[in-house]
Amino acid sequence: MPTIAVWKFTSCDGCQLTLLDCEDELLPLTEHVHIAHFLEATSVSEPGPYDISIVEGSVTTPDETERIRWIREQSDVLVVVGACATSGGIQALRNFADVDEFRSIVYARPEHIATLGTSTAISAHVSVDHELRGCPIDKGQLLELLTALLAGRKPDLPDTSVCTDCKRRGLTCVLVAHGTPCLGPVTHAGCGALCPAVNRGCYGCFGPMNRPNVPALVPLLRRSGMGDDELHLVFRTFNADAEWT
C-alpha cells in the first residue's frame, strides 16, 4: 500500500480538512493508502520515506525552509495543495509590506516572533510534482488527483478559465448580464464556478489561469464599477503573490 503523509506549513488548515471532508471516500481510501503522518487526524507519525506527501501552507519561517527540504527528500511524489502552498496565500500580503511593522502591530514584543520577511510558495523552495489550486482546494479535484496517482494516470486538472466551467454549468455570465465584476476570465478553473452560481463575481481564489490576460480584463472591471482602490485590492488577496500578469 502506498504511504501518504500530510504536512502543514503556514495556513488555515482548510485544505487538509478537505481530505477529512471526503466523508464518503475517507474510509474506502484508507483501505488503499496507508496514512503515515497527518498530525491533524492521527497521533501516529511514522518515519519516511513516503510515497506521496501532501503539503498545505506556505513557507514563512526559517524552520519551514528546512522542513520542506527534508519532506522533499523523503517523498516520492510531492503534491502541494491550496493557495498558500501554491502562491504564498493571503499571508503573502506581507511580501508587499514591511514585516517588522506587521509584527509590531500584532504583537507587543515582536522580538519573540521568528518569521521571514516573505511568505512563499512551496515551489520556490523545492520541486513540486502536482499542485491543486484554490482557497480552499476543491474536494472533487483532490479525489481526482489521489485516484489518478493510485491508478497511474495523468490527473485531469484543467488550467483554463473559470468561465469554461461556468458555461458548462449553464450559468448566466454575471459580468455580461448583470454588470457584476468577475475575475472568472483570468482565474484558474477548478472550483466549478461557485461564485457565479450564487450571482457573485469570481474573486480569484484559485489564482491565475495559464497565461491570463489581466490587462484586457481591467477595463471591463472598471466598466462594471470598480475603482482604482478596489482594482488594486482584488488581485491582492488570496493569491497576491501569484503571477497574474
Binding site: 503556514t10 485544505c15 507519525s45 509590506a97 506587521f102 482557497c135 461564485c195
Partner: protein
Amino acid sequence: MTHRANRTLQVAGLARVEGEGALHVRTVGGEVDRVELNIYEPPRFFEAFLRGRNFREPPDITARICGICPVAYQMSACQAIEDACGVEVGGQLRALRRLLYCGEWISSHTLHIYLLHAPDFLGFADGIAMAGAHRAIVERGLALKKAGNQIMDVIGGRAIHPVNVRVGGFYRVPTPDELRPLAKTLHQALYDALGTLEWVAGFDFPDLEVPHDLLALRDDEGYPLDRGAPHTSTGLTFPVADFSNHVVEHQVPHSTALHARLDDRTFLVGPLARYSLNSDRLSPVAREAAAAVGLGPVCRNPFRSIVVRAVEVVYAVEEALRIIDSYERPDSPWVEVDPRAGVGHGITEAPRGLLYHRYGLDAAGRILSADIVPPTSQNQSAIEADVAQVVRSHQHLDDHALQSLCERTIRNYDPCISCSAHFLDFTREST
C-alpha cells in the same frame, strides 16, 4: 513505579488538534513548576493587513484565519461591520445566517467528537483506526458531519470558506425548494445526533472540576449562536462594545498566540461555558436528551465536553430543521450597507467559543483598525491551568501515561491553533 520529583514532559507536535502546537511541562520537587502550551504555528498578521482594506472584505478575508470555523469568522465580521454602519440584519436573512452557522456547528463538532476526541476515550490513535473496530459508528459520524457540510454547501456555496456570505446578508438566497432536500437529510441527522449523544455519554470520564469563570453569550431567543450579550458564571453581563474592557489579551514569550484574562481572572469559553449558562435555552428534544444521559444544567468537567458537544449537535440539527420549516425567501438577498466612519463590534459563538471582532472604519469604508479575539486564545490560560491540575493529581502515572493524559486535557478544548496564532494586542492599537 517511581515518583520522580523532577521531570519534564515534551510533546513536540500535538496531534488531532487544528493547527500546530507543542506542550512543555516541568515539575520541580514534586511541584508543577511550568506548564506551557507552546503555539509555534507561524503568525499570519491578519489584523495588520486588514488595515487599508475595504469594509466589504473581512467576511472573505477573516474566514481564511481558520478553515475549521470560517462561518464563525464571517458571522462575527459581518456583525461588526454592520454595527459600525448602523445596520441590523433580521428576519429571514438572519435565520439563514443561523442556519449556515448550524451547519458549521454540526460539521465542526462532529469532526471533533468522532475523529479527534473519541479515539482518546476508546484507546485508538485516530478515527480511522477506530473505524477498524467500530466501522458503523464512524460511518454514522461521517454522515452526520456531511449533513452539516451540506447545509454550508447549499447556503454558503461551499463548506470551507463559503462564497455566498456578504456584509448585509447573502449574494443569493435559496428558494424553499432548494432547502427541501436538506430537511430530508437532517431528519436522519437528528437520529444520528441522538445516537451520538448516547454513545459518548457512555464513555469513562476522568474526574476534573474546573474553577474558572465561564463566559458565553446569552440571548432571549434561544441557545446562543449568532448573537447575544456576553454573560459570566459570576453573574456579570456587559454589552459587546465593552468586550475589550473585560477581556484583555497579552503576549507570552512561549507562544505566537496571545493569552487573555477576563477581569484579570482565568476564564473559559466554549461548549462547557455555553451549556452551563444556557442549558435552559435548549430546544425540547436536546434538553430531554441531555437529561436522559445524566447531564445536569451545569457541567464543569472538561472531559465531559464531548457530551456537551453532542448535545449541541442535537440542538443545531433541530434548529436547522426549524429554520428550514419556517423559511420564506426574502425579497432581497441582502440589506444595503453604506459605509460610515465609526467603530463596530461583532460577537458570535464559534463552535469553540466566543469570537469577537472589532473594526474601525473611515467614512469611505476603509478599515482603519481591526481586532480579532478568537476562542482558543481566550482559553489558553485555562488549558494550561487544567494541565497543571491534571499533572498535580496524577503524579503517580509514568511519563507516557501522564503525557497522553495531558494531551487529552488539551484536546478537551478542541483547541484551534490556526485561529489563535495571529492576533493583536489591543492595548497597542493606535486608534
